[in-house]
Subunit: 294 residues, 2 copies
């Protein structure tokens, strides 16, 4: 069994990005600049944005955080989006979700210029993924694809079972792995709460992507010997064995599944650390005009 | 076995649309207006556009065909798109494909205002389908969904196998049937040329959608007893038994598969006639501002 080390890979990629940014600066090119918008004082959102800011610094990006109280109006937020869309100094920006209930998240997301939508949430970026055109891929699916690449995990012709049909993980990773691409060219089955014979379906999978948000859902008994297991779940549970009093667990019963899998991502330290790296990669692509010509 | 009669259903839907258009006219509302752009003199394109024009007349729509020689420049075509985008008299328009090689189809498609993109080819409409937002669905997948509705074919929790991953059929129908919707909520496996164990996968399917463009590919031997079979293939082959000297056959070996299936679409007369109806439905939705508020 090979443990997929998201911390190691993400550190490597950050170094690669940092090197590239250094060279860009040497050539007198503009420093990539990411803006994060945060509304209100949600603890998890603060943590995420903090990590993103720190990661930007690590790789040499410029980074700005725009803070709004949760009394901000939709109009004010849309005006900010418009300003960022039209500011040539800003390569990409993200709207940290969730937003307060009086603001339409969808409306705000659709207001973002797709060229600067480094979170890959704009429908045009999702649609371009379906068609197979260059697009910003959202953080988690992009991180999974990157792990397949770095660990040289063959996906062509493999049976992939994705558990969970969320808009930001299950659906896009299903589409990506179905594409004529590498990684890709897999035979993908997208399963969800209405799936009737999940155990039977999972037992045929060469690769399982668990993204349903149900702690320790995937057990060894369900799995084919030697399957690749990607665990996207992150649930915080109480623990007496940690200083903080809680720990993170995934959608996979790691202790037993790891004995049967050929490759497996741990939680934490698997897919998680890859998500911020995906955002950095998208921002670099934006700065270089790789997805949409400048 | 129930033969799914696309001719009958499409005639019914045309009558329903005609009735609604009559009522719209009575209320003094604008008549829905579809424009088709055709470039060059491709025989198949002429036939399709001719059918579309005739169908518009049947339901009481206004319809215009804009013809260009295949020497038209991309710039001229983009200017025409821009004019139609901004013409409030036009509810929807379509660019008959293929376009001459010197013109980027993708660029022209992306220039169409998504609000008037009644062919559903713009990436934003595909992306909205992925997210589960209201969107124009392209003709063939929309026609299949309509047949499921009209024949009350249960899709929730069913194993659906789609054969063929084209951008206009395989991918969108896979996405639609995976959605939390009715029809939808199915467990969908998207298969293609790189799929290794297709026979095994198809043998588990409650519903098979054959859209690979390989005549009589799906045989009875591959199928589970009582499965629903949707045949999207249309291949023209020579025939001594028809006046014209050729006939249309599908991706399904109809004679034998029809004995094992619970529902089956014939070719011709199954999915085919539904495609124009989907276009009419999208145009009606455009006129009423159902997908995007006016």
């Amino acid at each position: 069994m090979i443990l997929i080390d998201g911390n190691k890979i993400s550190a490597e990629i950050k170094e690669e990005i940092a090197l590239e940014v250094q060279q860009m600066k040497k050539r007198g090119e503009k420093t990539p600049h990411l803006v994060a918008i945060i509304v209100g004082h949600d603890g998890a959102s603060e943590t995420y944005v903090g990590h993103k800011e720190k990661s930007c610094k690590q790789v040499g990006f410029d980074s700005t955080v725009l803070r709004f109280e949760d009394t901000v109006t939709e109009k004010e937020l849309l005006e900010t989006v418009d300003k960022l869309n039209n500011d040539p100094a800003i390569d990409g920006f993200i709207m940290q979700l969730p937003l307060p209930k009086h603001i339409s998240e969808q409306k705000v997301i659709e207001a973002i210029d797709p060229k600067k939508d480094v979170d890959g949430f704009h429908p045009i970026n999702l649609g371009r993924i379906v068609i197979g055109l260059p697009a910003y891929v959202s953080a988690t699916p992009a991180g999974i694809i990157e792990l397949f690449k770095r660990y040289k995990i063959e996906t062509s012709g493999k049976n992939v079972v994705v558990i969970g049909r969320s808009n930001i993980v299950g659906k896009p990773i299903s589409i990506l792995l179905s594409q004529k691409a590498n990684p890709g060219d897999a035979t993908v089955t997208l399963t969800h709460s209405r799936t009737k014979n999940l155990k039977d379906i999972v037992s045929k999978a060469d690769i399982v992507i668990a993204a349903l948000g149900q702690p320790e859902f995937l057990t060894a008994e369900m799995l084919k010997e030697g399957a690749v297991v990607i665990d996207v779940g992150i649930t915080r549970i109480k623990s007496e064995n940690t200083k903080s009093g809680w720990k993170l667990i995934g959608d996979v019963k790691f202790d037993e599944v790891s004995k049967k899998a050929s490759f497996i991502t741990p939680v934490p330290g698997g897919v998680g650390p890859m998500t911020i790296v995906s955002l950095l990669q998208n921002t670099l692509k934006a700065a270089k005009g790789e997805i949409y010509p400048k």
